[in-house]
C-alpha cells in the first residue's frame, strides 16, 4: 500500500482549532482543565488527552508587523521513527500498512523511553502510565476515511492523501521545499512552510537524540553479548567443574 500522509499548510490555517475538537471527539478523549497563561493556544502543550493542537505564533517583521501563524503540532509519523527504534516492548509502537506510527496500549510497558527518542516531543503518558499520541486515525484510514482532523479542517490547512500526491500538490502550490520531505527518512506529516522552519518553531534538521542511537546501536547488542557470555560461562563451568557438592562432614 502507498504511504499515506498529511499536508499541513500553516498559511491556510485560520486558527479555529476544529482539528483539536474533532480529534477529541473521534478518539473519545476527555477535556483538560487549563488556565489562561496569556495566550490563545489552549492547552499550552500536547497532553495525554490531546493528540494535536494549534500553536499561535506571532512573528512580527518589517514587512508584515501583524504576522500571526497557526501551526498544527502533532506526531509526524517519521519513516525513521525514534520512538519505534527505542521501544523495548514488541508491537507497542508499530507501523500501520498506511505508514502511520500507532500505539498499542495493551503492549506498552510504560517505560517512557520514547519521550527521549522523539525529535518532536510528541508522546505523552496517561494516568495508566501508557503512551498516547496521534495515530493518524488508523481506525479511520484503514476504512478509507480521512483522519478526523483533516476531515473537519474548513480551509484545507490539513489535507490527507497519498504522500507522493501531497508532495506534488505542495509543489503546485509553490513550495519548492516541503518540511519533512527528506527529514528522518521522510515524515508522514508534511509541512508547507513559506519561511525557514525555525520561524514556525521547528528544527531545521530534526534528529533523533544521539544517546538513543548510541543505546540502540551499540549498548543494546552489548547486552546480548553479556547474556550470551553468562550462559556460555555457566555451561563451561558445569562441564569443567560439575555441580556443586555439599561436603557431608562440613561444619555447616
Amino acid at each position: 500500500m502507498a504511504r499515506m500522509g498529511l499536508l499541513v499548510s500553516p498559511e491556510l490555517c485560520i486558527g479555529c482549532r476544529a482539528c483539536q475538537v474533532a480529534c477529541k471527539a473521534w478518539n473519545q478523549l476527555p477535556g483538560d482543565k487549563t488556565t489562561n497563561r496569556g495566550a490563545y493556544e489552549n492547552p499550552g502543550d500536547l497532553t495525554p488527552h490531546l493528540f494535536n493542537r494549534i500553536r499561535f505564533v506571532e512573528v512580527p517583521s518589517e514587512k508584515d508587523p501583524l504576522r500571526w501563524l497557526f501551526v498544527n503540532q502533532r506526531c509526524m509519523h517519521c519513516e525513521d521513527a525514534g520512538c519505534m527504534k527505542i521501544c523495548p516492548a514488541p508491537g507497542a509502537l508499530y507501523r500501520t500498512p498506511e505508514g502511520a506510527v500507532a500505539v498499542d496500549k495493551n503492549k506498552c510497558i510504560g517505560c517512557k523511553l520514547c519521550l527521549a527518542a522523539c525529535p518532536f516531543n510528541v508522546p505523552r503518558y496517561d494516568e495508566q502510565g501508557k503512551c498516547t499520541k496521534c495515530h493518524l486515525c488508523f481506525d479511520r484510514i484503514a476504512n478509507n476515511l480521512q483522519p478526523a482532523c483533516a476531515k473537519t479542517c474548513p480551509t484545507g490547512a490539513i489535507s490527507y492523501g497519498d504522500r507522493q500526491e501531497l508532495l506534488a500538490k505542495a509543489q503546485k502550490m509553490g513550495h519548492q521545499k516541503v518540511y519533512g520531505q527528506m527529514d528522518l527518512g521522510g515524515l508522514g506529516a508534511l509541512y508547507a512552510f513559506r519561511d525557514a522552519p525555525k520561524v514556525y518553531g521547528y528544527d531545521e534538521k530534526p534528529q533523533i537524540n544521539e544517546m538513543v542511537v548510541f543505546w540502540h546501536k551499540y549498548l543494546k547488542p552489548l547486552s546480548y553479548i553479556g547474556i550470551g557470555g553468562v550462559a556460555a560461562a555457566t555451561l563451561l563451568h558445569y562441564v569443567a567443574v560439575g555441580p556443586h557438592k555439599v561436603k557431608e562432614d562440613g561444619d555447616e
Binding site: N36, R37, G38, A39, E58, L66
Partner: protein, 102 residues
Amino acid sequence: MFVELSRELAKEKGINNGDKVTVSSARGSLWAVALVTERFKPFSVMNTTIHQVGIPWHYGWQFPKDGSGGESANLLTPTIGDPNTMIPESKAFMVNIEKARG
C-alpha cells in the same frame, strides 16, 4: 477573562504576558489575564499617544462553576445607547489598566 494590550502599554505599566491585571472603567472593574501582543499598537492622535486594549464579551461567574473563568465584561460597560438606532453603545469606552495588587 483576558485583556489584550500592546507591548508599549505593557512596558509603560510594568505588565508581563500572563500577569493578573485590573481593568476599570467609570462604572466598575474586573480582573483579567494580560495578553501582551503585537496586534495592538498605540495611536498618535493630535500628538497624544492613545492606547487601545481589547476585551472579549465572554466569561462570568456562572461557568465554570468554580469561577475560574473570571468576570464578565459587562461589569465595565456604560449604560448608554444610541437613541436613533436603539442600540446600546457598549463596544468602545474608556478604561484604565493596572497590575493587580496582591
